[in-house]
């Protein structure tokens, strides 16, 4: 053990610390104007969103033994634990994003309080929307046996819950916290929905891995997506000074009752007309009218004889 400890000290700790300090301060300084700003915490936010889920669907995400006599105590207590934590994260997010000096901290704190309070009052509306998403999933997937199963097992449902929470926070002005909320869902589901996207009721994503929905996307009611669908931008607009114009609409508008199958890539501020069906793996950069069916071009297929050796067969396009 002493031998090992001697080896443990084989690195030059002082030198590494000094070089990392130089990297931080001189060559590769990423600190925000030299000030310390406490960032929102991914871990804290995960706990907060779990708390909100428990308040929204107490018997599914909270405790299984709730009944008429105690469920309101549970919901009230859970909100009471969660909302102050959310307010603190919102405050940090505002502080981080601001360019102001100390004198404004108090007003940022008040703004965080207002945002959280407004968000809290929207929770019943959010629950209502999620209820429609749940209905859409139940009707859209013949394999689903109950809404509870969907709440429990469907990554698409998880992603939509996180999106609706993040979207409300984004609208109220807590953009960094909203973004972080989205990324937590992205990490656990593989579904990446920008919190600024505008998505109507009865929304359902099946399987979902690889879905990307961009910032200015607009999605109507009763839309259904499958895995690996991209709703992206095609081209950024450059301003007169050569700087990219931010926030300009650059992602698709998907109207009501559209279905988009797995792997479809839809780019640019185009419109997918009401009731259209976009086939799997389709690449689409032009608007299509209502009621369209879009399918991929046919594949070239060649039947070949059995390969002669194992290695030849293994060798094709593997990675």
């Amino acid at each position: 053990m002493r031998q090992q400890e001697a080896e443990t000290a084989s690195w030059n700790l002082d030198q590494i610390v000094t070089e990392l300090r130089a990297s931080r301060e001189l060559t590769h300084n990423i600190r925000h104007q030299g000030q310390i700003r406490e960032l929102p915490s991914r871990k804290a936010l995960l706990g907060i969103v779990e708390g909100l889920c428990a308040a929204l669907f107490p018997t599914h995400y909270g405790r299984a033994d709730l009944n008429e006599a105690n469920i309101d105590y549970f919901v009230g207590h859970t909100l009471n634990q969660t909302l102050p934590l959310l307010q603190d994260q919102v405050r940090k997010g505002l502080l981080f994003a601001s360019d102001t000096d100390d004198s404004d901290e108090r007003s940022l704190a008040q703004r965080a309080s207002r945002i959280t309070s407004d968000f809290a009052s929207r929770l019943p509306i959010i629950r209502g929307l999620l209820y429609t998403d749940l209905q859409a999933a139940y009707q859209g997937d013949p394999a689903a046996t109950s809404t509870s199963e969907i709440l429990l097992c469907y990554p698409g449902m998880t992603a939509v819950i996180y999106y609706r929470i993040a979207h409300a926070l984004h609208e109220l002005g807590s953009t960094l916290v909203a973004r972080l909320t989205s990324d937590i869902a992205h990490s656990s589901t593989g579904i990446d929905i920008h919190p600024a996207a505008d998505i109507g009721s009865h929304f359902f994503i099946d399987h979902g891995t690889g879905v990307v929905i961009g910032e200015t996307t607009v999605i109507g009611q009763r839309v259904r997506l499958y895995q690996a669908v991209t709703l992206g931008a095609k081209r950024f607009t450059e301003g007169e000074n050569g700087v990219l114009v931010k926030g300009e609409p650059r992602h698709p508008i998907v109207e009501d009752d559209v279905v988009i199958y797995a792997g479809a890539t839809i780019l640019g501020r185009i419109t997918i007309g009401r009731g259209s069906v976009i086939g799997g793996n389709v690449w689409l950069t032009q608007s299509v009218p209502a009621g369209s069916h879009v399918m991929q071009a046919q594949m070239r297929t060649s039947t070949t004889i059995q390969p002669k050796s194992l290695s030849e067969r293994i060798g094709q396009w593997s990675i």
Copy 2:
């Protein structure tokens, strides 16, 4: 602080609790027939599957210091901790899925006991199958240096372990728990295998993110898949009353010794004949005979000059 606490109370807790209660009870009630049913727990199930993995591969997923003298104590103890927990989850899943009243709880508990007992007795067989999967991975990926490395580092192996456990539970009638098990693997690997799919020995998925294998898929022996492969349904059958027919075969049959490369999409109850090779990104909705090689159509390629400005280059199809 007092100031802050005053702000903390800026939301109207009573009102939000009341509105959420109204949402739960009146407008958006998703409770199952008004009864409380304890759902299976994702978190509990994660622990259970880790326990089963430790019992199946004790030196890899259990404890590294096991030896001849103590390994059976470890395996026995681990099963002894894990199986009652599994039985409890199975019971909750059965209870949830049933439409019966209180008098049947005892028979459901007995059924959960039988399912768990049968599942337990299959563990050696499951281990045998996983051993063939391990061999397939070792032979199929030239980068693999040992079976231990595969058990430790390959998401495809993780997904197959979870699938084989979930499949056994599904066959024995614990469908909700099986489904939840699948989704746990989906979340950590990006690989989505329905527990009802029927997959032969020596199965290997490389990289794996985005793979989807549907409910009625049949896969033979020695099949190998790469990332983003979809084995999906093309069309649902509608019954006379307009209701979708459930459980009907609608996903592909993949015969022995087939290799399917990244991004291929194979849809419908078609058969991929023995020994075929399906190329990357291929879109396939028709059966192919044994020994087929299927490749994607050629791309249009255009060589262009350097873009004039950075923004122009950045702007293409980004999201």
Copy 3:
């Protein structure tokens, strides 16, 4: 309860333990030459990489309240906790990979000490590279409002941090630990970068789910990738004895300033010339000269009338 316990014992524990022992020892033995070798731990490594991240970016991944007076204590202490744990994992990885007998353990421990020490001394360089990646992300995504937001919310940044750590470990000879580090990032981001790949500065992956970068890939400076891009192998070389040749260059070379859009699949030891742009969903197996623009072939588009029934519309290619 006693009733329940009686049911709990419904499986035959002794028999299952015995059969699993038989499976381990006789029929499906995967133990390494009968010896016990302590494997590196995924969980331990996760904590180690989090520690390294905290040392590299202390105010983002460490503690928010660090200031000039205490930040070096934090960095030094964090390294001091983390590096011995890393050394232990490196030692286990070397021990596992070796074929040697007991007498070599001491030399492996010394080698682990050297590797860890060399790795530690590279940390400032790694930080410098990650700084360029951060700049690339900030410039490459108009939606990014600050480098802190990128460190906090971008899975592509997470994947690159893990890659640069894993790559250094791989170069120093700790290949198994490097591989495990990669897979941890893969699991949380859906981005799969082999630690042996060689990637230049200013590298940025946007969204990222489904990206696969193979072992012998070479990527220049200022390269940007989107989700679901594959940089893979097309064919393995077979040696005279029919055994696959390992480590031979078989993945693409991507030169400086290349952008590759979502879903593109690029296979084989081909070269994507400097400044090229590869469009989304492109399938490419041939080299292209500098400044190329490669786009996918046009889709067949057909406008159709509204489907008659819901089931017909739902039924298309769903899974």
Copy 4:
């Protein structure tokens, strides 16, 4: 490491397990009639009592940030978490203490439910009594600056809270759980109060280490004790068959307004009359009338010269 593992196996695990089995089953069997009975859990009970304390004094033992708007949610939720756990411990305690066979489990569960329900309805009364104890401590100790300080820092207060909870459980018939509750307080405060003791309002123990209050002790109102006071039994009554008579009154009766100073030992069914003061270290086995002052006999004191050597001085009566 392998060397070390070899050493790890130096004990004969099988033999020790076998001998311990023999000890359990043959020579030193302490199992209750061969049946398995789940015992109440010390750890669970600790959490339960902390929950009860939080419900009784929410701003002191619960959360500091409670206010008019949320405190009832906190109290209701806390009770709702705690009472079912208590009921489960009560049930286990009843089951353990019973001699009945399986058919009675249901009635024991119902009895546990009634006990817990009755206990819950007494909580406001318990709080009222504890309020008087708090007042007594505040008035009895001039060093106390507030009741909050007493709740926070006084082991005597902790012991009395645990006692009043344990006493209520004892009276309702949950004797084993009551006993375990007492011992938890004993372990953390050094104060040992039997849950069957009958103690009036305004009770205060200062410092408290070493206090023992026996099973049939009766204590009036406004009594104050100091550390190391024993209220014990002097002699047990033997029945005709030579068996000790249980539950017979054998501990002191301490009337209202008595003060007993540190180290006093009071034994037997004697009565300390109203308003008496018992001095420190007094040994008392006879009743004293109201208003008595009892003091210890004088010490023999001898003044001596300085000891000649250190060891001589150290050597006196040390241990």
Copy 5:
């Protein structure tokens, strides 16, 4: 289970919550002037004192593998984690003890900052004093084999460390936090030292259970106590208005080089002269000159015959 849940609801939650509210607000209100004040946290303070111990004796209470190259990083980091937490507790303690309104919060925060800063600067002095206590323990107990053993195993040493920390906090004005610190030590060691007591260097308590040292006690250098020693008050002084005078000297002065054996009770503002030895179980309420030896009066001893029955023998003074 449903049956059980029905039973779970057998208490009337609403009624209990309402009655507890009435108890809090009307009949037994202990809230401080109706304001909410966040109290110092016992649990937080336990972590803080452990952090201070680790900073003071890093290789004993911190990490065993510290060496010249990294120990300062450990100490600096540990202080950096611990001191802000202490400051927060000190602030809460000041806020709680104050009668001021909101406008003073800022000045209390500044005062907490000053107290913590002053306390931090005293840490080297505290360590120096504890070093003398360690020497005293090593010399005073022939069974001690090393100072490390004393730091690790001696409750008396633990109590003295906590005392010296609490005493410094008390002197600086953080009385509530000091008191809470004392009680933490009391709970784990059975030794109760008031933080206001004034104790010189080279202080040693052996065994220690039951020791009580009162608020105005003054103890010189090189004093040694054994278990169950009380240094208490005999009488409080009553002011003209009948209110007890606080803080007046009422506990003993113990001069240098005194030894007090187990169970001795010394009461009142008396002086135990330099170098005196007080025997076990002595009761002392008068000053003794330097060099005194005080012993307990002789016991009456009577040899009796064997008791006739077991119960008779058991029955003597048992409890």
Copy 6:
């Protein structure tokens, strides 16, 4: 917050770290010969003893649901987890106590292995002894309703379990670990038994707070003690050089069937003859023959009138 952070930095961290370093290295160095030695860990040892208790009494301290089919797996697994951890602590203890240089580490490790192995083989014997202690408690306390209640609720039983484990470790040469084990029990029970004391079967301590049993004490069979009993030394022997002679018998011999009541202090190498009864609070420094009854001298009792004022009454000997 920034304001607060500025205040947080109000201490001079560098200076404190420097002064603590000076204190460690120059003025108050307690490091063992400048070498780093990893000390046994109190926390680790607590877990180890809990593991041993679970192996000894699996249904009481292990898991409640054990049955014939699985109990041996539990015991074997628990020992298998616990014994290597114990061996590691034993090794650290030996290393710490040794004066040897690096070359002896291997032999110390082998000695630790032997000690642990011998200890393991004694576990059945230890269980046998504890069984007699359990019987003694059951018979000695009429309040005890079952042996399970004693295992669960009696601090005296806890102390004896820890003592018998510590004593075995002490005898085998692991003195520091034995000492630490004793102190863990002391902290939770207030009972301080030196691991070197020699205690026969059927030993019972009731209540127990404040009991101290010294290093060379010898206790026969069927002995019963009550709280606050001291079996201590009266005088140390000084060697020719003035150094205290260690290990010399200096504590009492208590023969079979002796009962010692609360608060009795028995000092020096005296013998309490077989079957004697020592009364409460007795001070005894001379041997007594078999069958003796020793009681305290009578108290002086004076009846007084009621005190005139509350403060007068409160003021007597309070602290």
